[in-house]
């Protein structure tokens, strides 16, 4: 896990290494290349404009990801997602199932199946999983990026991963049924 980076430097020094990663995150949010490009471009313009407000020595990564996320929330796609209610209790962290480690199931799937399961998650689960597992952000960084409490980060991670496992399990059963029919 990467440490929280309290960074100083020019915008170029801080933002350049994050360009491709921000694009990957933007794509996972929007699920569309064109929308992801617009989102990254707009976020960079906003970040450039607002760089004066960035406090040197604080966590730049969380700052620029937050700009991208907020840009997404005010975009057409983001507004549509925001209208969906979050009726789950964010304070509850789902316990990990005891017994046979069904988590191993995920690692046995091919990348396409894992991507499909991640795509199928609601955005608020998908984004924490991408930030945690792909971007290797700490819970604290994710909380700063999404402006939610750490407890919410943990519960969304827990529920998101559980939903992914269930989704892959279902896909596995469907695939096995198809094979038996042949």
């Amino acid at each position: 896990m990467a440490d929280i980076q309290n960074e100083s430097g020019t915008f170029e020094e801080l933002a350049t290494p994050l360009f491709a990663r921000l694009y990957n995150f933007a794509y996972w949010l929007t699920q569309d290349r064109s929308e992801a490009e617009d989102l990254v471009q707009e976020a960079y313009v906003k970040a450039l404009k607002g760089f004066g407000s960035y406090r040197q020595g604080t966590n730049f990564r969380a700052w620029i990801y937050r700009i991208l996320k907020n840009t997404y929330l005010t975009s057409r796609l983001g507004l549509r997602v925001a209208t969906l209610s979050l009726d789950d209790d964010d304070s509850v962290v789902e316990p990990i199932a005891n017994g046979t480690p069904e988590s191993i199931l995920i690692s046995s799937f091919d990348q396409q199946a894992i991507r499909a399961a991640l795509e199928g998650l609601p955005v608020h689960y998908r984004e924490v999983i991408v930030l945690c597992d792909v971007e290797e952000m700490t819970y604290q960084e994710i909380a700063e990026t999404l402006t939610v409490p750490i407890g919410t980060v943990m519960s969304r991670l827990s529920r998101g991963r559980k939903t992914m496992r269930e989704s892959l399990k279902d896909a596995s059963i469907r695939s096995a049924s198809r094979s038996n029919l042949k």
């Binding site: 450039l48 690692s107 894992i114």
Partner: protein, 252 residues
């Protein structure tokens, strides 16, 4: 620590969020409890699998190139820049900055690709079956790839050179399939990798690139929609000579 207590901490463990004090107790338990160890391992593997699967979207070269003019278009009107030279400088700096973003992203992507190519070469040499088609005859090796790759390529005649074709296999760079050819020279092994330049061509500029890292020499170039890499621990001059033969063969 009981198994139930451990399960409550599994997620924080795999996410490296467990405090050091709890970590010691956690790890002591998994050392003696096979079920919990399997659970923790499964979750760690899951995290790794998700990371590998979800690190998949890369900005296109066109997008990188488009960022610069789009920023320029957003810059202030000319009359403003004339009256406010400081502002003009800031706008120019922003344009240059975004241009350099593209360049540095290109460079870091290129370095990653070189590392991956070197890893593929080393892994091949470490394998007990380094090639899937074993032949010194290019007329056997080349047809073997037909139907296995979404492209075709030309191979040089090596009979009159010091190089000897050993065979080939299908290689994967991220999600793209390509050809890997193993060529020997004295006691050295050289790998030739051939991939389509698109859709990841933006990472790889079209000029020839030479690189030396970890004792491996590499030369890479684009030709007719294909990207070639030659990598080996052989001297850089030998890598270059094989590259020259491949370039010549690619231009009938």
């Amino acid at each position: 620590m009981t198994c139930d207590e451990l399960h409550g901490k599994l997620m924080r463990y795999v996410d490296s969020e467990l405090p050091a004090s709890e970590l010691v107790e956690f790890e002591s338990h998994v050392r003696i409890c096979a079920a919990c160890a399997a659970q923790a391992l499964g979750l760690l593997q899951t995290k790794t699998a998700i990371r590998a699967a979800a690190t998949c979207y890369v900005p296109s070269r066109e997008f990188c190139l488009r960022v610069e003019p789009s920023i320029r278009a957003r810059s202030k009107p000319r009359w403003l820049t004339m009256r406010l030279p400081g502002l003009a400088l800031a706008v120019v700096a922003a344009v240059l900055l975004l241009a350099s973003v593209t360049l540095v992203v290109d460079r870091s992507g290129r370095e990653r690709e070189f590392t991956e190519i070197a890893d593929l070469h080393v892994a091949t040499l470490a394998s007990s079956n380094p090639v899937d088609v074993v032949s010194t005859d290019k007329h056997t090796v080349k047809p073997w790839f037909a139907g296995k790759l979404p492209f075709s390529f030309n191979l040089p005649e090596l009979q009159n050179s010091d190089f000897k074709l050993e065979g080939g296999r299908v290689a994967y760079l991220e999600r793209d399939s390509g050809a890997q050819l193993l060529v020997s020279l004295r006691k050295h092994q050289l790998s030739v990798f051939i991939f389509k330049t698109e859709p990841r061509g933006y990472l790889l500029p079209h000029e020839t690139i030479t690189s030396t890292r970890l004792g491996l020499h590499m030369e890479s170039w684009s030709e007719d929609g294909l990207r070639y890499f030659v990598v080996s621990d052989a001297p850089a001059s030998d890598v270059h000579d094989l590259s020259a033969l491949l370039r010549k063969a690619a231009r009938p």
